[in-house]
Assembly symmetry: C2
Homo-oligomer: 93 residues x 2
């Protein structure tokens, strides 16, 4: 699992962004409306999530539509489970 993913997940705002994007893709501003922080602050969070490859932005006119990289997130989670040798619920002897 990429080192950057752990850092990305360490912040509650970024975790909430991921949860929001889990449901549907959203523009930067639409995402920002869910938080108290300013847009520049949110923008920085987006870039950290982008660097960890957890989200992806797509320019659509003047908007940037962000969507979750589901596969990357899932691989990251499984990788973390493997790393600590944790088995999924119900798969224990």
């Amino acid at each position: 699992m990429a080192v950057k993913v752990y850092k990305a997940l360490a912040d509650p705002t970024r975790r909430k962004i991921l949860q929001l994007l889990r449901q549907k893709e959203m523009s930067a501003g639409e995402l920002a409306d869910h938080f108290e922080s300013t847009k520049p602050t949110l923008s920085r969070h987006f870039s950290i999530l982008r660097e960890a490859d957890l989200i992806q932005g797509n320019k659509q006119g003047t908007y940037i539509i962000y969507r979750l990289n589901v596969t990357v997130l899932e691989e990251a989670m499984w990788g973390m489970m493997d790393m600590f040798n944790v088995k999924p619920r119900g798969e224990n002897e």
Copy 2:
């Protein structure tokens, strides 16, 4: 999943500590031997892991034997999977 767990996992040294303890319990010094950092530095990492309840120290004479709280780690992982709605490998439709 407890907020402190994310912070605890964000540091590579602490992740390695958890991996070492997954294999067998170890004293603080024994753990410290696996790293370049000084013992006080490692001690601080232990306390962060203790606060997240991921490890537990047991005084044994002059030693402190640390062991992994397997259940807490597992619950944390599953909680994280749930939070992002990630299903275990092989359980996808």
